[in-house]
């Protein structure tokens, strides 16, 4: 029997729930007893209203599609306090990352900077291009000018393998 959220008529989804749980390793959302230690210390609680214990509760109830298409999963600051402090090894952080992965897989709208970083990694292995920086006196400085060694990027083989790994 599946649950129905009477506010939205959304139904729980056992299959997706299992998919999320199968991606977690040594992390057990189903053992959460809602003590809210995660939420009380959450970096994103005040500004972005992230409540990690609610994410865990919704995963346990099976409302995965709703979470994967919600903006709330993109408000985590990855400070890892919830993971550290959880007495039940439920780590909302890991659950949130699994939900983000699912959102990508389902082609939900996600912050584009993540995709840009991945595209850049495919290009030369690094998440951003080498920059020329400016000093306090507004003078431009490159790696070369600062006497730093030349970058040694990965070779072409990297791209092929990484593409394959990304595609699963």
């Amino acid at each position: 029997m599946s649950l129905t959220d009477l506010m939205t008529m959304a139904k729980s989804n056992k299959e997706l729930q299992e998919k999320i749980l199968s991606q977690l390793w040594e992390v057990h959302p189903d053992e959460c007893f809602q003590c809210m230690r995660c939420t009380s210390g959450c970096t994103s609680l005040k500004l972005l209203e992230l409540k990690p214990h609610e994410i865990t509760l919704l995963v346990n109830a099976g409302f995965i599609e709703e979470l994967a298409s919600s903006d709330i999963i993109w408000t985590c600051a990855s400070c890892l306090k919830c993971r550290e402090r959880c007495p039940q090894k439920a780590s909302p952080y890991n659950t949130i990352m699994a939900l983000r992965n699912l959102a990508v897989e389902r082609e939900a709208k996600i912050p584009e900077k993540y995709m840009k970083a991945v595209a850049q990694i495919l290009e030369n292995g690094l998440m951003q291009q080498m920059q020329t920086v400016t000093s306090r006196e507004m003078q431009p400085f490159s790696r070369e000018k600062l006497g730093l060694p030349k970058l040694q990027y990965p070779d072409g083989k990297f791209k092929t393998v990484f593409m394959k790994v990304l595609g699963g």
Partner: protein, 289 residues
Amino acid sequence: MKVAVFWGCKILTAQYAYEMSVRQVFPHFDIELMDLKGASCCGGPVRSINTSAAMYLSARNLALSSQTGLSDLLVPCNECHFMLSEAKYRIDNDEQMHKKIQEQLREEGLKYSSSVKIWHVIDLLHDLVKLDAVKAMVKKPLEGLKFAVHPGCQIIRPSEIGRVDSAERPRKLDALVEALGAETLDYSEKLDCCGAALLYSHEDAALSLAGSKLKAVQGYDVDGFVDTCPYCHIMYDARQKEAAATVGGKFSLSVFYYTQLLGLALGIKQEKLGLHLNQSLDSEKFKVK
């Protein structure tokens, strides 16, 4: 002693002052650094897109490290340090993952080995070099100065995978600053996050988190602020003005990488430590150009 070093992306492509100061200070303690050839991103930003692909990237860099034949790997970026440490923990304890990763790496002719020990600047100096050896090398003590230190999040949590310092009461960075003759401050916002990871999705919130911490620190009347992560440093140094604007203030807090302060105390020339690249530095107070 020879140590391999994995810089990650941010340091190599923009946070040059950290790279310069790390390269300058370690030879003073007889530690020779060896860069990894062909290193890639640690997988930090990839994790949100595809967690297994992120783990592959971390494992790949660990494999490159073991290829050097060196058993120690320095990872100066907090995020990279977390990604690599977590990947190592998982691969070493999950046989299935170990097998999968080895298969993926084989395609690039690489092999993962569990023998690499991952260090950060903080524990390498505090636990391996040791405080007494740091103190003994100080030529220009930073006497009369008081700093607030920011250890960051990802090198102290989660403790189950083995981290650099205590998750709730980190003191190693304080001890390292004190070893240079300066004072440090115990303050209630010490564990607050810089917010950098939110730059991807909620830039205003990210700046506001940095701003709130800077505002608190400014109120404690310190001479400067010390960090050890390129992400935290971007938030507190380069983006200090924007961060201040989100909390309605004007700050003048000088932000240093720890290795820059250490370099100054060792008597290394300022320009070699990249101090001219710190946007927030009060040049008059610290007598730098």
